[in-house]
Symmetry: C2
Subunit: 202 residues, 2 copies
Amino acid sequence: MAEAKPGTRQRSGGAGTRERIVDAAARLFYRHGIGSVSVDAVAEAAGVTKRTLYNHFRSKDDLVAAYLEARDQPNLALFQAWFDAADGDLADRLRALFRKLAENAGGRSWKGCGYLRTAAELVATPGHPAVQAARRHKRNVEAWLSSVIAAERPKAEAERLARQLQLLMDGAFAAGLLHRDPDYMQAAGEAADALLRRSEGR
Amino acid sequence: MAEAKPGTRQRSGGAGTRERIVDAAARLFYRHGIGSVSVDAVAEAAGVTKRTLYNHFRSKDDLVAAYLEARDQPNLALFQAWFDAADGDLADRLRALFRKLAENAGGRSWKGCGYLRTAAELVATPGHPAVQAARRHKRNVEAWLSSVIAAERPKAEAERLARQLQLLMDGAFAAGLLHRDPDYMQAAGEAADALLRRSEGR
DNA sequence: GTCTATATAGAGATAGAC
DNA sequence: GTCTATCTCTATATAGAC
């Protein structure tokens, strides 16, 4: 599995066994980090035995990649929902996005960005499938930011601003985690606002 | 040492044994990450036995903290040297700092920011001495940035800009490492420039 | 597909001689 | 202070019964 050939069938005993495993992995890996969580712990949290887990995933590395891939679209959808629900002009709505991120960063279970943290932990293996999944996710976020900005600004400017906003976001993920302080995300929102409004006057 | 009590003496066999160990640890931990480097590997790279290493450091955790503490002042001095060597006004000189960082990020041995990466790896133990050392270093950098900006801007504005610039820097460390692309640091420099020059017009 | 039990390897840290 | 040898623990991954 994981890439079932046509003709192969996925006869999972419990429906959604794979999902349960990925969900448990996501919770534990995000909370404690990849290296600190054993496969045993994931299996126990998912309510399956280790042997079952290894029937669904070839290795822990595959499981880590599956965790990040599973979070890609939900994370993106959350950003979009926050943006869409906000009122005002483009800058106001992006400001709302950062405000939501800051609220999130204030929660007890917040531990920064799982993608950046995984990339940091796997620095010794840049080709790791989980690192590639992280790259894809960040590119998706940047492309989405670029698309919403491009609705009101020239394309080249939108791409530049999208990257700058993501740099602020990622910086706030990293610094906010280091200092355990959501004020960094707040400051990132202010900087994003300044960049957007300055750019307007050009 | 590291806070040797008065009266205590450190009769190290080879002069600078501790430094050799810390240097080897810094090289390996930065290159491969904390979890991927064993104490054996550090001892071998330093040319000492593991027993000698444990005579100088109580645990691997202590060694990691010593590595980050040892890099604090040299890193800061490097930033200052880059800034001091540049010509032009404040924005020009800060721009030069980002340009130097981008050059650095293009090198083969560049692996992002060791402080942020260590904090990401040690997310499960926020009170870890290495994490505290990382916080101190980042605060030192921000304070230094604030001081140079305050030479030409009001204090409150300088503090705000210093934090924004560091967010961009940290974001570029994280994204540049994930994508293995120094363009992110370049983009951070442009954003920093925009923030500084916008702020001027206020 | 799922279970119990285990192979195998590598880690951090220490014992005891010199 | 430094050495060799080793203890102990935990990890990933697998064997073989059902």
